[in-house]
């Protein structure tokens, strides 16, 4: 089904990375986003690169899987790279052709910034590849728990996310059905003048919304019939277990940070 494409990002496994508590993974990613900026020379970028590849190896997710997932964003990386190359005009002139001038600094900056992108994306992709959406939701709920004090509706946010994930496959199937029903009534979604194509989307969207609202109403009713009345006084079935490996991972990140700080210019 279409749905496997979308939620099926998760690659089942039992690797060290898979078994980490989702909180650890979320925190690590959060950390990583910051410490990437400490890198500013070849050594630090190299260090981060080795680290990233190491994590990929430990996760046992095939590298090509990650690279494939990155495809859509590759052109952004490329764009950034080119932009930097042509914009920075410091250092020695490396290449000259007509009005094109490439300087040493420009090349360096281009490479660095692109690498930073690649590292960031690889790590976040790795998170979604090794963690089920439910775990992510659980992890977020737990991490945000303290913010309840300032009236952030943490439980509700987590519930919204899990309902959303739960209904994507269902609604996707529904979209497909409505589309086919309207095509059978002569709608053409893909050809004709733009104006017609804009209009053709209405017979798809209106029924989809009507159905989504109906589902929302029925689901809300079913939830209330089962005693749902907000996060207050609720217990939780799912539990997250913090282990040695989680503490170890966080320590590793601290070590990495220290190294980066030491080795940067």
């Amino acid at each position: 089904m279409m749905d496997s494409m979308i939620i099926g990002k998760y690659v089942p496994g039992t690797s060290f990375v898979h078994r980490l508590d989702p909180r650890t993974k979320l925190l690590s990613i959060f950390f990583f986003v910051f410490i990437v900026f400490f890198a500013n020379n070849y050594i630090t970028y190299g260090l981060l690169g080795i680290f990233t590849l190491l994590v990929v190896m430990v996760s046992q997710v095939p590298l090509y899987f990650i690279l494939k997932g990155m495809k859509p964003i590759l052109w952004i990386v490329l764009f950034t790279f080119i932009l930097h190359i042509f914009m920075t005009k410091d250092g020695a002139l490396l290449f000259h052709f007509g009005f094109l001038n490439i300087y040493e600094e420009g090349l360096k900056q281009g490479i660095f910034i692109s690498l930073r992108f690649v590292y960031l994306i690889m790590m976040t992709t790795l998170l979604t590849l090794t963690t089920t959406p439910i775990e992510v939701t659980d992890g977020m709920e737990k991490l945000l728990h303290p913010f309840r004090k300032i009236k952030l509706p943490v439980h509700e946010l987590a519930l919204m996310m899990s309902i959303s994930l739960r209904f994507i496959p269902t609604l996707l199937e529904e979209t497909d059905k409505i589309m086919k029903a309207q095509m059978a009534r002569g709608v053409d979604f893909t050809s004709g003048p733009l104006k017609d194509r804009m209009k053709a989307i209405v017979p798809l969207l209106v029924p989809l919304f009507v159905s989504a609202f109906k589902r929302a109403e029925e689901l809300a009713t079913a939830m209330e019939a089962r005693g749902y009345r907000g996060g207050e006084g609720r217990t939780k079935y799912r539990q997250l277990v913090w282990g040695m490996k989680d503490t170890f991972t966080l320590l590793l990140f601290i070590l990495l940070t220290a190294l980066l700080v030491l080795l940067r210019n």
């Binding site: 279409m2 095509m183 009534r185 029924p207 009507v210």
Partner: protein, 289 residues
């Protein structure tokens, strides 16, 4: 319009890790003007098969010939629109396709997409609304103000208004009350006879299959396992249950009677009239002997 299906295969999501073989080696022919019931366990491929009939899905192997139009694997089909006009499909829960402001507009939507002028479409809409058993006074109302059963009828009218030559019905009565179900099935049957339609009905109701169809196609795990008249097929009870299919109430009753009374009726009894007749005959035989 005769329909001939040859070695049809369909794979969903071809060439992805999620590829799934939903139909294979399907062969069947449907004569113009016949009423065919397609039956089979959930997931046996009935809906997949239906969607090939107007080019919503394309064969990944094999071909389907509908009159002069031939849909073939690996061949781009140009004029799908004219095919879609000739083959109308009533999907499961068709009320989900309603979207217009008024019932009139919604029924006219299909015909007008196929180039029928507005006035003609509106006249047709009125006629169809009556046919499905709703009063004309509803025409200017919003379809979303109706009850579920009424919405179903409006959606059906929207397909009928396209005046298809082949009418494909995918479980058109699911969720209706007994009267609504019977009214709609009878309406389709009447239309089938009057307008000389070719009707293809997917149903889980063996009663409906036995009652309305003159041909049946039995699907099982993605392919056709048997074809024939209801009487031929229901004569073989063990086969039907091996395909995960129920039997019509009358046949089930026949089976119990045969087991309990230690007799065999010469043929499958498909309707209540036949059943009653056979039992009465049996009783009279007993009393006179």
């Amino acid at each position: 319009m005769d329909i001939t299906i040859k070695e049809l295969e369909h794979r969903y999501q071809m060439k992805t890790p999620f590829e799934r073989l939903a139909l294979y080696d399907v062969n069947a022919s449907i004569q113009e003007g016949s009423y065919v019931a397609v039956i089979g366990h959930t997931g046996s491929g009935k809906s997949t098969l239906l969607q090939h009939l107007n080019g919503l899905l394309k064969p990944t192997k094999g071909s389907i010939a509908l009159g002069d139009t031939v849909l073939q694997a690996n061949k781009k089909q140009k004029d799908l629109k004219s095919l879609r006009k000739k083959v109308g499909i009533v999907f499961q829960f068709p009320e989900h396709q309603l979207f217009e402001e008024t019932i009139l507009k919604d029924i006219c939507f299909g015909p007008m997409n196929f180039g029928v002028p507005q006035q003609k479409a509106e006249a047709k809409a009125k006629e169809m609304l009556k046919l499905v058993g709703l009063p004309e006074s509803l025409l200017s109302r919003s379809p979303f103000e109706l009850s579920g059963g009424q919405m179903r009828r409006v959606a059906i009218a929207g397909v009928l208004a396209m005046e298809p030559e082949v009418l494909v019905l995918d479980e058109p009565t699911a969720g209706l009350d007994p009267r609504g179900r019977k009214e709609i099935m009878d309406m389709f049957y009447e239309l089938h006879q009057k307008a000389n339609l070719t009707t293809i009905l997917v149903t889980h109701s063996m009663e409906d299959a036995a009652h309305y169809a003159d041909q049946m196609i039995v699907m099982h795990k993605g392919t056709v396992k048997a074809t024939g008249t209801p009487r031929e097929l229901f004569a073989n009870r063990t086969d039907m249950s091996s395909f995960g299919l129920d039997l019509p109430e009358t046949i089930k009753f026949q089976q119990t009677v045969e087991e309990e009374l230690g007799i065999t009726f010469p043929r499958p009894l498909l309707t209540m009239d036949e059943m009653a007749e056979a039992l009465t005959a049996l009783y009279q035989e007993d009393t006179t002997s």
